[in-house]
Symmetry: C3
């Protein structure tokens, strides 16, 4: 039990952080929707535009993180430990990085036709970001710990599914793709997508760690 946990019973805690985390969650959902749209499109122009939009949204995410840091500098009493707010903001940044990264690699490596596995993992990324957003929304009211825990369990389950699809897709590449350079390209894009779900799991880990500290 930290001093923070003692204080929480009699000191009003600053509530400015929660809207920022909610914005970060909404931003990730928007990014995941765009990535899904991209891998479901065969129009290279549309994919290029989406990649540009994702870059902008990644900057939006960076700005939200920056505001969280500014609030950390301003507020003496935080709703939970300062370093956990910092860790949570960083882990959300990482999710945005890999969603944009997946799209960016498709663009840079000139992947013309997204594979079925990419489409399936993009669905899972969207699902994971929705659970992340739900958990962030519930965070402001630690009475609903169960809801946060449920979201974390669901994020872990989505990550397992993405892992499975990734493994199978790479196995298929080794079995059927005879051009090594094409194989590497597809593997790298899939890998960035799978990393995006891993990073959602990291967010869940930070959230669980916050819950156990404040239990």
């Amino acid at each position: 039990m930290s001093l923070n946990s003692i204080f929480q019973y009699f000191v009003p805690k600053d509530k400015k952080f929660f809207p920022l985390f909610e914005q970060a969650g909404a931003n990730l959902i928007e990014m995941a929707k765009l990535l899904k749209e991209s891998v479901n499109s065969t129009n290279l122009e549309i994919r290029k535009e989406i990649s540009k939009k994702l870059e902008d949204l990644e900057h939006t995410g960076d700005n939200i993180t920056h505001q969280i840091h500014l609030e950390l500098g301003r507020n003496f009493i935080t709703p939970f430990d300062r370093e956990d707010i910092h860790a949570l903001a960083s882990s959300l940044d990482d999710v945005a990085d890999f969603i944009h990264g997946a799209s960016n690699r498709m663009e840079l490596y000139k992947v013309e036709k997204p594979s079925q596995a990419m489409i399936e993992i993009s669905d899972l990324i969207l699902e994971a970001t929705e659970h992340v957003a739900t958990a962030l929304y519930e965070l402001k009211d630690l009475k609903n710990i169960r809801n946060i825990t449920d979201s974390c369990v669901r994020i872990n389950s989505v990550e397992n599914k993405a892992d499975y699809i990734f493994d199978k897709a790479v196995a298929d590449l080794f079995e059927y793709e005879k051009d090594a350079i094409t194989l590497i390209k597809y593997k790298e894009v899939l890998s960035a997508m799978e990393d995006a779900t891993d990073k959602c799991e990291d967010v869940a880990n930070v959230l669980e760690s916050i819950l156990v500290k404040n239990a």
Copy 2:
């Protein structure tokens, strides 16, 4: 110094966590033994069976982690900071993931003949998990800090050896393997094995961090 450190002198701390960590350690040793058996076998059927067993043991590990989380929810006073118990459980999970992952990749990518480097790294993984289990066993009695530190030093040393063998094996692949796709397959399996020793080092880092906090 945290409040926890003050409490530890006069509050009996719950001892339920230690048997769970011991089980997690024993589970990792069993997994490492199976991986070693797998890379030493040329019988594809046996390797397939082992991969299935490793999947089951990974679930066993997940269950142990889940019980640790349940105990965290139940216990107000923990033997050390709650977030460290959480971090330790997560890092042990990661070791199990990569041991199973190495076996799984061999299976998925149809690696028919494990290389000499795989055999050597599997020995090192077993050695590392044994040191991890020793350190976890000693954790219940912080009088033996020296034993835990020694195990951590040994884990680091094993990781360095695995790193060296991995580097050399990849260099040899670049020198002698002319088929790029075969090269990538072997590199990926070796990489999962080397990651397993990296994750043992992460466990050692969490343990060292616990020691410095409670010193």
Copy 3:
């Protein structure tokens, strides 16, 4: 607010850690200079010698980390939380690992001609280590929080640039390098170099986390 933060107003804190962190910073700069020299040289003998020197400097770094751990064992009152000192030392170790790792891969994989991207990223690694060293130097005097924050912002900016160059270089490899094995070799060396800047960003994250805790 931790007990540590309360103590800091009336307990003199041990200052032995700061010179050690300064040494670690200086060591990283020296390593980055050697890596830069190496990728700018076409003389294989010189590159071999530099790789050997980098290995020695990595050991120097390990020794500094070991001394930091010894001090952690000796000192009851630390300038900031014990686990943060540990995390900072670990993250500095990681930077050294990847700088040496990049040089080591060039050597092991027999990369004869470093690419333009390697030269550019080596410049950025040097820049990042200089900002790391500045931040570590300012750490002893938390009055200059602004200087540390500025260094962290610069490290992030350098990492972004390295990321961009890395992405472009890999895209070019996919476009122009027709030999898959050569492509993988160059990609792996570039990747170790880019990881070195990522690890500098991790150092910045630890520093920022220390600042928010002690704000």
